[in-house]
């Protein structure tokens, strides 16, 4: 099976559990199992090639410019980890099927689990470190979801957050490290990087890269001082703990160290950093683990300890160390996953994982007892179990390793670690299963169904088989170890032996075992000592740290972001002016290249009107209605200005928009106070004036200077002038740019417009449906209203004008491609026609005659425009490619048919819908209690014998 498919299967399969959720728990688990099994079998189809020493690779270019290629490779190491991930995954899925209760959403659980599985497989098969990083982050995210799966438990949420924070930060550091590494080598492909040991280790950037990558590995694999998140992640359901926190995710850091081993290891820096962190973690984890009363916490710290052991072995940088590490990864995965599942069984059946409340379970749960005992003895390192073999190799390696110039330091430390490791393993057996039967268990414990004990039992069988007959896996382990080492080291050992003879490692092993028993016998006094000793609580420190960072961020934000809009506006203006001034002063300005154009006196008149209206606006803005009128004058002068400067399309747009804007603001003014009070101090006004004048002068200076100079580089406008007719089929260049050259832009714009209108609609709904409703309905108008609100003249006139307006709109729309006009302008014109009906005949009357809702019109517009764009796909052209032709239907003139016109229709509809939805929403606020909705367009209608309506109109 293609490697692509192996990686893709869990991701694709992640969709299925959610879908199968309704079909029952068995179906849900079954489909997950099938997906994983398919990937598992797919992996095995590649086994012959891998076992014969080949490296299976596949790849496609993804973003070659960035060096990010979707390259996968499968060698011994990748195969080994993928085997662990998928194989243990199968057992975990079976176990979880029976572990999760009926209240748990199984579909959600298995979806997360498959996402995680896919991400893990992705990591171990990646041949590109950037791709690896993506999968790496995916494991952080999916494990966050899995740890926090029981959302109702605060511990679960906190644990998930902590895990995400720590591994996420590590991931960030690792991105940095990987980028440096890629820069050193000049390629992000692992297979290339692994060939460049000398280049990397001689680079001055080797140390930063190493530290950053190790940060990622250490956080992921819970190495000191980042070990604290792992025990807190134990709030997850036990299948998650067994899967993520013993067999797979925490091994991702180990995997990466192993993967990078050929190029990063062997230097003094690597040795000191990795070995020291590993051995400290090993001892610390073992000591803390012994004193934990929660079964899962004990196992969590033991995992920390064993991960430290493996890290330490990788750190030594010798071939034998790599071999021992590889072997221990395999052994640890088997016995630890079995132990976690056993702990889950105990928790599931006895309803507690507190060792102090357990004991004597061997009588009640004999099967679980056997499984857990074998696994725990293997963890303690007793023969003839697999844990013994790798532990012997570890002791052997440590015995020959010199740390900080001392020949004794490392052996003594690992001996202490091993002693405590044996002690907590013994404690797990003795305090949980041995001892007298108790009668105060929270629930009556008994062995679970085969579905739950079978998965750990299978692992336990492996524990024994590997322990008794290591030659069965010997070739495989050597293959993996060789894949780890690459060309960097040569393995001299030929066999994995149970009996090495009377070597120091054997004596150390005996000392550790006996020591473990002694420690356990002294457990009670030791525990008192431990409880009395002061020790830092990682969670408290972590939370204090997070808290202080949050406070720092708040202090920074609050002092700047104090909720004063005026302040932000002033800051922004001053900054822009200052930066602009700096650019101005440091740059050079060429001599004017354009002649000043002569001025017609009409232009001066227009300019005077604009300036008078604007200045008047500033002084008279407290009278809001007057301000609106002055603003309208300014807008109209701008429109006329566009005509003068040969831009008829703009003039038409500005003119129509001006109309709807004034209607909009008038509607708003209906609710807002009519006067703006005089509030700001003189000082403040002086300050504002100064900033405003500075901004105005800056804008003036900039425009004046560029108006007198030609563009430095030729503008792209010439292209549009040249191709408008040839390529777009229209002579109105502006319209062709809108619907053709930059059609995608326009498409985005009509969507934005539609969203704005929907937002306004939603806000109105919230207001009308909320507490404001009563206030709006009982609102008294603050100025006298006209007695005849819908006068006959206006009603008749608008009715007569309506078809004319529609015709004009239609005309403007149709001619838009070749003459000034187009969808935008036509839409605005038609909107004004409809708005007139509202204003003349009233809201109710007009609404009752609407056939299509405005939302629908917006949607239709966006859809038509979008489908027009998609249409070009069917002729194998990119999105929004337009085409046109000329047809002649007698007796009409020849006219043009362009797909762009269809697109423009979409624009037209979206504009009409958006403008109307906006204005309609605002008018909806204006309805009042005392004004009954009139069914008639006119308040006073002599042809109607209806005194009531007359009265209602007259009394308002």
């Amino acid at each position: 099976m293609s490697l692509f498919l192996i990686v893709a299967l869990p991701f694709l399969g992640a969709l299925l559990p959610g879908l199968m959720n309704q079909a029952g728990r068995a179906a849900c688990a079954g489909i997950t199992f099938t997906v994983t099994l398919s990937a598992f079998i797919g992996l095995w189809t590649n086994a012959p090639a891998v076992f014969s020493g080949e490296v299976v690779t596949v790849g496609v270019d993804w973003l070659p410019i960035l060096g990010l290629n979707f390259n996968l490779m499968l060698d011994g190491l990748g195969f080994f980890f993928a085997l662990l991930i998928l194989g243990i995954g199968l057992l975990i899925i079976t176990y979880a099927r029976f572990y999760l209760s009926r209240e748990d959403n199984m579909g959600e659980f298995f979806t997360y689990l498959l996402l995680f599985q896919g991400a893990m497989v992705g990591i171990v098969l990646s041949d590109n470190i950037l791709l690896l990083l993506i999968f790496w982050e995916l494991t952080s995210l999916s494990s966050f979801l899995l740890i926090g799966y029981w959302k109702h438990l605060p511990e679960g949420r906190q644990g998930a957050r902590m895990a995400l924070t720590v591994t996420g930060m590590g991931g960030l550091a690792m991105i940095g490290g990987m980028l440096i590494l890629g820069q050193i080598v000049g390629s992000y492909d692992l297979s290339v990087i692994l060939q460049n040991r000398e280049l990397i280790q001689e680079s001055p950037y080797y140390l930063p890269a190493l530290i950053l990558i190790l940060l990622g590995c250490f956080t992921k694999s819970a190495q000191f001082p980042f070990h604290f998140w792992l025990p807190h992640a134990m709030a997850a359901p036990t299948p998650v703990s067994a899967y993520l926190h013993s067999a797979t995710m925490v091994k991702a850091g180990i995997f990466l160290m192993a993967r990078m081993w050929p190029v990063l290891s062997g230097t003094p820096e690597w040795f000191v950093l990795v070995t020291t962190a590993g051995v400290i973690t090993m001892v610390l984890g073992a000591v803390i683990g012994l004193f934990k009363h929660d079964l899962k916490a004990l196992l969590a710290f033991s995992t920390v300890s064993h991960l430290g052991l493996i890290t330490m072995l990788l750190g030594t940088g010798t071939a034998f160390g790599a071999l021992a590490a590889t072997f221990h990864i395999l052994n640890h995965a088997t016995f630890k996953a079995a132990l976690f599942m056993s702990a889950g069984i105990v928790d599931h059946e006895a309803h507690t994982r507190d060792i102090r409340r357990l004991g004597g379970l061997r009588h009640l749960m004999p099967i679980t007892f056997v499984i857990a005992t074998i696994a725990a003895l293997s963890m303690a390192g007793l023969p003839p179990l697999n844990g013994f073999l790798s532990k012997e190799m570890m002791l052997e390696e440590a015995y020959h390793t010199e740390l900080f110039g001392s020949h004794w330091l490392l052996p003594v430390l690992v001996l202490v670690g091993s002693t405590f490791s044996a002690a907590y393993s013994f404690r797990l057996i003795a305090h949980t299963f041995l001892g007298p039967k108790r009668d105060d268990y929270p629930a009556k414990p008994h062995d679970p169904g085969a579905g739950m004990w079978m998965p750990p039992a299978i692992l336990t069988v492996l524990v024994v088989v590997i322990g008794v007959a290591p030659f069965l896996v010997q070739d495989f382990v050597f293959l993996v170890a060789k894949a780890v080492m690459g060309e960097a080291a040569v393995l001299e050992t030929k066999y994995i032996k149970i009996w090495h003879g009377l070597v120091p490692a054997l004596y150390m092993s005996i000392v550790a075992t006996v020591g473990g028993v002694v420690v356990l016998l002294l457990f009670k006094p030791l525990l008192r000592l431990w409880d009395a000793a002061p020790r830092p609580e990682a969670k408290v420190i972590f939370e204090a740290l997070v808290e202080s960072i949050v406070r720092l961020a708040q202090a920074c934000v609050r002092s700047l972001h104090d909720g004063s809009f005026s302040r932000y506006a002033a800051f922004a203006s001053v900054t822009i002016v200052v930066v602009g001034y700096y650019a101005w002063m440091t740059g050079t300005v060429g001599a004017p290249t354009r002649a000043v154009q002569p001025v017609h006196f009409v232009v001066i008149a227009g300019w005077l009107m604009l300036v008078a209206a604007t200045v008047g606006l500033v002084f008279l803005h407290r009278n809001r209605l007057l301000a609106l009128i002055l603003m309208g004058i300014a807008g109209l002068v701008v429109s006329v200005g566009f005509v003068h400067f040969s831009a008829p399309d703009l003039a038409m747009t500005q003119f129509t928009v001006e109309g709807v804007t004034i209607v909009l603001l008038l509607l708003a003014l209906n609710f807002l106070p009519n006067q703006t009070p005089m509030e700001s101090s003189v000082l403040r006004r002086v300050r504002d004036t100064a900033i405003a004048i500075a901004g105005g002068v800056a804008a003036f200076g900039l425009s004046y200077h560029y108006l007198l100079r030609d563009t430095v580089l030729p503008s792209i406008s010439a292209f549009h002038v040249e191709n408008s007719y040839k390529g777009g089929g229209g002579t109105n260049m502006v319209n062709v740019i809108l619907v053709d050259f930059r059609g995608f832009d326009t498409y985005g714009e009509i969507i934005v417009l539609g969203i704005a209108a929907l937002l306004i609609y939603a806000l109105t709904e919230a207001l009308v449906g909320g507490p404001v409703r009563a206030r709006l309905l009982n609102r008294l108008p603050d100025k006298p209203l006209a007695g005849d609100m819908h006068p006959m003249m206006m009603v008749i006139l608008t009715r007569v004008m309506m078809p004319v307006v529609m015709l004009v709109g239609f005309f403007i729309f149709l001619r838009g491609h070749n003459d000034p006009g187009g969808g935008f302008i036509a839409g605005l014109v038609v909107s004004i026609g409809v708005v007139m009906q509202y204003m003349a005949s009233g809201f109710t009357w007009t609404t009752a005659r609407l056939r299509y809702p405005y939302h629908g019109i917006i949607g239709a517009g966006v859809l038509i425009a979008g489908l027009t764009g998609i249409g070009s796909w069917f002729v194998s052209k990119p999105f929004l490619t337009s085409d046109f032709t000329y047809v002649r239907i007698p007796p009409f003139n020849e006219f043009e048919l362009a797909t762009a016109a269809l697109f423009d229709l979409g624009v037209f509809l979206a504009v009409v819908g958006a403008v109307m939805l906006t204005l309609e929403s605002l008018s909806r606020l204006a309805r009042r209690q005392e004004m009954p909705d009139a069914e008639h367009p006119m308040d006073i209608d002599p042809s109607r014998e209806d005194p009531l309506a007359e009265k209602a109109g007259g009394s308002a």
């Binding site: 104090d562 909720g563 004063s564 005026s566 506006a569 354009r594 001025v599 604009l610 300036v611 604007t614 606006l617 803005h621 807008g635 701008v638 200005g641 400067f645 040969s646 831009a647 008829p648 399309d649 909009l664 708003a668 003014l669 807002l672 504002d688 900033i691 405003a692 901004g695 105005g696 800056a698 804008a699 003036f700 200076g701 425009s703 004046y704 560029y706 108006l707 503008s715 792209i716 549009h720 002579t731 260049m733 740019i737 809108l738 832009d745 714009e749 934005v752 417009l753 704005a756 306004i760 207001l767 206030r775 709006l776 003459d819 000034p820 935008f824 504009v911 906006t918 605002l922 606020l925």
Partner: protein, 118 residues
């Protein structure tokens, strides 16, 4: 001519800025509209001022002096979008005023715990 257009941009900008610094929603909205005019003219003017140029292609005629269509197309959509933006701001201002009986743009000096979003 250039001086007139540039000074118009300057006057509109200055007036717009001054109104944006006011304390109530309505003048701020008017101020933003003035700034919109200023920015639109500014963008339009980047095509340089053309009086009496042809905005429409003249078929079969050589050497016609055309006005720059590109800034026009950009400004055309900008005008329409700015209407949408003005409408949204107006609606937010209305909502704040109707809901909180307050049309100032700044939060009160004391940080209120459940201050109205405005």
């Amino acid at each position: 001519m250039e001086l007139l257009v540039a000074s118009a941009i300057g006057v509109l900008t200055a007036a717009g800025l001054y109104l944006v610094f006011r304390l109530r929603t309505f003048p701020v909205i008017i101020g933003i509209s003035l700034l919109t005019y200023a920015v639109n003219i500014f963008l339009f003017a980047s095509g340089r001022l053309v009086v009496g140029g042809a905005p429409i292609l003249q078929k079969g005629v050589e050497g016609v002096f055309y006005s720059d269509p590109l800034p026009q197309a950009l400004v055309l959509t900008a005008i329409v979008i700015s209407f949408g933006m003005t409408a949204v701001v107006v609606m937010i201002a209305l909502g704040a005023y109707l809901g909180g009986d307050d049309d100032t743009v700044n939060d009160p000096a004391e940080p209120a715990e459940e201050g109205e979003a405005r």
